[in-house]
C-alpha cells in the first residue's frame, strides 16, 4: 500500500543527512577539539571533589539571602503578571485596535528577544546594585512570555461571547472585566505559577550579577575559593528550586482538577 512506502520518509531522511552535514561543518569551522572535552571532564571532577563536604555552619547565614531571592522572585512575578495582563489585552486581536495590537505584540516580542541578564545590566547602570533592579528585571521578563501566552489565550475566546456582551451595551472595559478575565483566569494562574519557577532560577543567576540574595552568596563564596561554603549555598538553591517546583506543580494540578470539574 502506498501510505506505508518508504517514500513517505524521504524528506525526513534527507533532512537528517543535511543536518548532520551542517553540524559536522560547524564543528570544523568552530575548531572544536574532542580532546578538550575529556580534559574538561577531568578538571570538573577534581573541582567537584573539592566541594565536599558542605560547610554546615554556613547554613543559618544562608537563610536570609535565600528568603531575599524568594521575595525577589515573588514580587517580580506579581508585578510582571500585572504588566503582562495589560500587554496581553492590548495585544489581542478580538479586543484591541489593529494598530494597538501590532505595537503591543511588537513590544512583547522585543522583550522576549532581550536576555534577562542584558536587561539587568542596563538597570544596574540606571539604578545601581540591589534588589530593586532585580525585581524590575524579573517583572519585565514576564511580559515577553506571559504577555504572549495570555494574548493568545484571549484570542482563543469565542467571538460570539464578546459580541453578546457588546449586544447588551457593555463597553470595552466591561467586556474585559466581565467576559475576558473570568475566562482566562485559570490559565493566567497556571502560567504565572510556571513563570514563578523560572523566576526563582533566574533570581539566583541575577543575584550573582548584582541583584543580591542567594546567588550573590554563591558567587562570592566561589570567588573567595571557599568551596565548602559555596556547596552549602548550592544545596540551599537546589532545595529552593525543588520546593517551588513541587509547590507550583501541586497548585497547577489543583487548578486543572477544578477546571475539569466545572
Amino acid at each position: 500500500m502506498k501510505q506505508f512506502s518508504i517514500k513517505r520518509y524521504y524528506p525526513i531522511i534527507v533532512g537528517l543527512i543535511v543536518f548532520a552535514a551542517l553540524s559536522w561543518g560547524a564543528a570544523i569551522s568552530c575548531q572544536i577539539e574532542w580532546t578538550g572535552l575529556f580534559e574538561g571532564i577531568g578538571k570538573g571532577m577534581f573541582f567537584l571533589k573539592n566541594l565536599f563536604p558542605p560547610d554546615w555552619e554556613a547554613f543559618p547565614e544562608m537563610l536570609q539571602p535565600a528568603l531575599d531571592s524568594l521575595i525577589l522572585a515573588f514580587l517580580g512575578t506579581f508585578f510582571g503578571t500585572l504588566m503582562a495582563v495589560v500587554f496581553a489585552v492590548l495585544g489581542a486581536a478580538n479586543i484591541a485596535h489593529p494598530i494597538v495590537r501590532t505595537i503591543s505584540r511588537f513590544l512583547i516580542g522585543l522583550e522576549r528577544s532581550l536576555p534577562e541578564l542584558f536587561i539587568l545590566l542596563f538597570l544596574i547602570a540606571a539604578f545601581g546594585l540591589g534588589s530593586m533592579p532585580g525585581i524590575i528585571c524579573l517583572s519585565l521578563g514576564c511580559i515577553g512570555m506571559l504577555g504572549k501566552l495570555l494574548a493568545d489565550a484571549i484570542e482563543e475566546i469565542d467571538s460570539v461571547l464578546i459580541q453578546s456582551l457588546t449586544a447588551v451595551g457593555a463597553n470595552k472595559l466591561q467586556i474585559i472585566v466581565f467576559g475576558i478575565f473570568p475566562e482566562i483566569l485559570p490559565k493566567l494562574l497556571a502560567y504565572s505559577l510556571f513563570r514563578l519557577e523560572i523566576n526563582i532560577r533566574l533570581s539566583v543567576i541575577l543575584g550573582a550579577v548584582g541583584a543580591g540574595g542567594i546567588g550573590y552568596e554563591l558567587d562570592y563564596a566561589f570567588s573567595m575559593l571557599q568551596y565548602h561554603r559555596a556547596f552549602s549555598a548550592l544545596l540551599v538553591v537546589l532545595v529552593l528550586i525543588f520546593g517551588i517546583e513541587k509547590l507550583s506543580a501541586y497548585l497547577r494540578n489543583m487548578l486543572n482538577i477544578k477546571a475539569n470539574l466545572k
Partner: protein
C-alpha cells in the same frame, strides 16, 4: 416596535448581501425569519442591533421614551444605550461559562448602569434581587449559584433568554436560538419565547419551518438578500420549495434513502 426601511449591504467586491429589505414588527408579533444558508438572515438581524452597519436604509427602534431612533446613525455612547434595550439571544456560547448563572443574568444590565461602578464595585444587592426574580420567573432559581459551564445546552439557552428579559428590552432578537439543541429542548425554548411576544416584539432567525409554523405569528422569508415572502407562518410545499430551492429536495432524498434502506433491513430481520 422596530421598523426596517430599505436596508442594503454590499461587500467591497460588489456582491450584494442585502437588497432593499423593509419590514416592521409591532408588540404582540413573533416573527420568524427563514431562508437557506447565505440568504442574509443573520446579517439582517445584526443590522437590527447595530452589530453591523447597513450601507443605506434605516433601522428604527423605539427607545425607553417611546421615540423611534435610527440605530445605524447613533454615536458610540447612544448606540450602547440603544443596545442595552435590545435583547439578543445567540446560537450558543453567549454566556460567560466561568461566572455563576446569577452573574450572567446581571451582565444583561451592564449597558444600563455606570460602567465604573460595575467594574470597581460590581452589582448592587437590589440588582441581584431583581435578577433572582427573573430566574424565578423562568424557574431556574435553584441554579442561581451554579457555574454556567456546568449547565446543559437547553438550560444555557434558558439563561440567555432570562438575561435578555432582564434587560427589559424594547425588542427581542434571536439568532438561531434552537439550532444547537435536540428536538425536545428546541420545543421547550420555543414555548418559552413565544409568550414573550405579548410584551415585546420578537424577531428570530430559524432553520425549521415546522417550528415557525407552530409558534410564530408571522414569517419573513429571504432569498439571496431579498424578501420573497412576508405573511402567515403556515407555508405550503410550493412556497418551501421557493425558499429553499433545490437544496431542500436534495437533503430530503439524501436523508430518506439510507433510512428507508435501514427500515427494510430491520423488517427483513424481524421476519426471519
Amino acid at each position: 416596535m422596530i421598523e426596517v426601511k430599505n436596508i442594503c449591504k454590499t461587500l467591497p467586491n460588489g456582491k450584494q448581501l442585502l437588497k432593499d429589505i423593509s419590514f416592521s414588527v409591532k408588540q404582540g408579533e413573533f416573527v420568524g425569519i427563514l431562508g437557506s444558508s447565505g440568504a442574509g438572515k443573520t446579517l439582517t438581524l445584526r443590522c437590527l442591533n447595530g452589530l453591523l452597519k447597513p450601507d443605506s436604509g434605516e433601522v428604527l427602534v423605539s427607545n425607553s421614551n417611546g421615540e423611534m431612533q435610527n440605530i445605524s446613525t447613533l454615536n458610540k455612547k447612544n448606540l450602547r444605550i440603544a443596545r442595552s434595550k435590545i435583547g439578543v439571544i445567540f446560537q450558543g456560547y453567549n454566556l460567560v461559562k466561568r461566572l455563576s448563572v446569577l452573574e450572567n443574568i446581571m451582565i444583561g444590565k451592564l449597558g444600563q448602569i455606570n460602567p465604573w461602578r460595575s467594574i470597581f464595585y460590581g452589582f448592587t444587592d437590589a440588582e441581584a434581587a431583581a435578577a433572582m426574580e427573573v430566574l424565578e420567573r423562568f424557574k431556574m432559581a435553584h441554579l442561581a449559584n451554579n457555574p454556567t459551564g456546568s449547565l446543559s445546552g437547553g438550560e444555557m439557552q434558558r439563561v440567555a433568554i432570562a438575561r435578555a428579559m432582564f434587560q427589559e428590552p424594547q425588542v427581542l432578537l434571536a439568532d438561531e436560538p434552537i439550532s444547537n439543541l435536540d428536538p425536545g429542548n428546541a420545543q421547550m425554548i420555543m414555548e418559552l419565547i413565544a409568550p414573550l411576544a405579548a410584551t415585546v416584539p420578537v424577531i428570530g432567525v430559524f432553520h425549521q419551518p415546522e417550528m415557525t409554523a407552530k409558534y410564530c405569528t408571522r414569517v419573513i422569508a429571504l432569498k439571496e438578500g431579498r424578501i420573497i415572502y412576508d405573511g402567515k407562518p403556515e407555508l405550503n410545499n410550493a412556497q418551501l420549495n421557493e425558499i429553499y430551492g433545490e437544496e431542500l429536495q436534495k437533503v430530503i432524498t439524501k436523508i430518506a434513502e439510507p433510512e428507508l434502506n435501514a427500515l427494510n433491513t430491520t423488517n427483513a430481520n424481524e421476519a426471519i
